[in-house]
Symmetry: C2
Subunit: 468 residues, 2 copies
């Protein structure tokens, strides 16, 4: 059966000649490829960005779908308006109010997940060669989207306070000298994917000022804002800017369900009109059925209580992961201390390539993570990894981190054997504050480079060692 | 409240400078704009391409969603694989078997509606300026998609046997001389949208031969194949070609529900791999929930009986519309005789502009249709209209056609007053065979032009009159 899927080189040639330029350079995101492997039941996956949907009560699902069946079946099964249903937009306004923003339903479009917002905004704004600015590391799923429009992606280093706005300004100055105006800045300011860090209040203020000063659009991607496990919320960029330069991306994926594929964008009217046209062309409208499911669910009035339940569950899992990292990862490793969201970003000594490590981790130990290189366009991030703590139980988190730690230890031993250097030392289990060094650097490399294109230095172990 | 949405010209300027080239030329499809207007409850809309979802039993909806709630709630709410669930693909294979095709689940991707297939195939293949060939008229919803990739759309005339394959060959020859190889041919061979005609068996055979001879990809869009009201099915292009050059687009929109946004593409492995990458970038995966809804529905085993019910309902509505056209449209009008699907294509005397007519029809008579120009890239089709007979009751169809006929009569009277020509004559109510003239021409214009770019001639009434 599989035989006829063994494509011959002639067959590939036949079609390849017809591919568009954008397609030739499109590659699978490591994350999506991983999902296929990690679907194996024996694998502990810390790779996906999955919420734990097993926490959602089946009886609630049955109650809201029954309500749809007997109150609005025909319209749930029918096409809807491109911009989405008014009822669903009112639910979105409630979520945004909870995040500290006022939003008018007329200013939003309901989309097929948050990913579609990244796609449509890029489609609306970016010609081949145009600059898009984002964080280093950035959301791995945004990389192929930017690349599919042949954008020139410029990544700005972060530290534990999020994107380095001073470096952003330097980069904008340099681009201005080159006569290149970025089409937009893409940022996940709160509990960033993949780094888990949060943009500080002063930097938020300054980013919005820069946007105004330079007439620069910012796409604020905020899937995790309500998944806060400690501290007080910071104002979203959109609330600081009032919606003039900040486009806002929200989603129900992490507070309810990614399987319903429902996100939204809030944007100034001229931009929203173009996004609407883009959406017509790509999928006509967002699912009426899943939109009505949200409306029926919000009508029950318990949506925020469910988010609070999730926060309790994910907080315990985060703590379990931080403890396990301290116990099982080598002293040379560093990692972030997220106050919310789904991810921890860990960085190992430079001589460890996390793509190789992943292959070994899956084969030998049946455990998976996202290699850091997926979060860069330029090959950096090769010694880092994204670790998800929302999708599996505390026991599995501890066991998963133990297994990854074991594979890392083997790599370090191998390295010591080859170089004669001794690279060991186990962290004390209490040292959970060890994620950043005194300067709050997120990556060892960010002391060396201000913005982009810094080649990885596989032979430089000094940074890794100095973090201990 | 609306005040702040009154965008000033300065504001539009501010953003317009940032728009991509593709965005600047994007316009709303007339169809989608119409949907907003025709949502008014007093309007009889013959405009949409909507199935009648009120025919779907709410108790079936409740039963299948309950099954999901108690058997697979967590996975219905979770992300799924980009290519779709195996269970859903097996349902798709059943639909395709019913259409006379064998399809392997490994060769397909489940998409967010059929529209996404048009988008992803175009994205995979088309660089700005590349040629896409399609029918004249073509599916109005495909036009903005092709334009969003800056394709050069070349439209081939149809007659009552579908696309004129002789003209296609002439066009391909001409393009070859110009050194331009079309990236693909887009066709709706069965019960075409908007024309309602079906590509004949010999033409199907010849189209597939041409594809093989010229190594030309064909995208076969087949939403309506199972909605057949008379006659025997013809083989799909894909079954004739074996899936080498023919990419196949299917959808659940017309046989179950468009509100679940579920379609699919079947394509050769190298092309499918690129479509998969494209889908990752635009929306990660298709809704798990609505995919599971299809699986649960098909497990009940009554899906085909429901399609047969729809056929009975739509057949009666088609007949009601054909009778009403004969009764209420002027003798100069021509229209097609669809053997299935959702649409009739009517063409009026050349001096009538159906966009103007639509404005009057909505304002004065609260009735809507799609103006023919939406189905062309070049301003043709201005005296034609697409009429949908699936979405409203027989009574509303008759009343809607009566109202449109009334507005047409007024236009003809006005024209007569200005020109002194007498343009009346009521058709006998029995002459439902009057849709095509002796040569089977679909549009008066197709006697004049072979392929594209023929300007409309608003002062030429001869063709309209000769159709009587």
């Amino acid at each position: 059966m599989r035989d006829r899927h063994q494509t011959t080189s002639h067959e590939i040639e036949r079609y390849a000649a017809l591919f568009a330029k954008r397609t030739r350079q499109m590659r699978s995101s490591a994350m999506r490829d991983l999902m296929a492997i990690t679907a194996r039941p024996d694998v502990i996956s810390l790779a996906g960005g999955l919420p734990d949907t097993s926490t959602f009560p089946p009886e609630t699902f049955a109650a809201i779908t029954d309500k749809i069946a007997y109150e609005s079946c025909a319209s749930a099964l029918q096409y809807g308006p491109t911009e989405g249903f008014e009822d669903t937009k009112r639910c979105i306004a409630k979520v945004m109010a909870e995040e500290g923003m006022r939003a008018d339903p007329d200013d939003m479009i309901v989309t097929t997940g948050g990913q579609q917002v990244i796609d449509l905004v890029t489609k609306t704004l970016v010609d081949p060669g145009d600059v898009v600015v984002c964080e280093a590391p950035t959301y791995p799923g945004a990389v192929p989207t930017f690349q599919s429009y042949e954008a020139d992606v410029v990544q700005i280093e972060m530290d534990s306070d999020g994107m380095r706005i001073d470096l952003l300004e330097q980069t904008l100055d340099r681009l201005e000298v080159e006569g290149r105006r970025p089409k937009f800045v893409y940022t996940v300011p709160t509990f960033q994917n993949p780094a888990g860090v949060t943009l500080s209040a002063p930097r938020r203020q300054r980013l919005v000022e820069i946007a105004r000063e330079r007439e620069l659009l910012v796409l604020e991607d905020n899937p995790y804002g309500l998944l806060r496990y400690e501290g007080e919320p910071l104002p979203p960029l959109r609330s600081l800017d009032g919606g003039v330069y900040v486009l806002y991306l929200g989603t129900f994926s992490k507070i309810l369900s990614p399987g319903i594929r429902l996100g939204w964008v809030v944007a100034p009217a001229p931009v929203l009109a173009k996004i609407n046209l883009g959406k017509q062309a790509v999928d006509l409208c967002t699912s009426s059925l899943t939109q009505q499911l949200v409306s029926a669910y919000f009508a029950e009035g318990r949506w925020l209580a469910y988010v609070q339940d999730l926060c309790g569950i994910y907080r315990r899992r985060r703590d379990a992961m931080l403890d396990a990292l301290a116990e099982f990862f080598p002293q040379e490793a560093e990692w972030t201390q997220p106050g919310g969201g789904l991810f921890i970003w860990a960085t190992l000594p430079d001589f460890i390539d996390t793509e190789d490590l992943l292959a070994k981790a899956i084969q030998q130990e049946s455990v998976a993570f996202v290699p850091g290189s997926a979060a860069y366009v330029d090959g950096r991030g090769g010694s880092s990894m994204r670790l998800n703590f929302s999708a599996v139980s505390e026991d599995d988190i501890v066991e998963g981190i133990r297994r990854i730690g074991k594979v890392i230890d083997e790599q370090i031993s191998l390295y010591s054997t080859f170089t004669g250097k001794k690279e060991d030392g186990r962290a004390a289990s209490s040292s959970t504050g060890r994620g950043q060094d005194e300067r709050g650097a997120l990556l060892p490399n960010d002391r060396l480079a201000d913005v982009v294109r810094l080649p990885r230095r596989p032979d430089d172990t000094k940074r890794g060692a100095s973090g201990s």
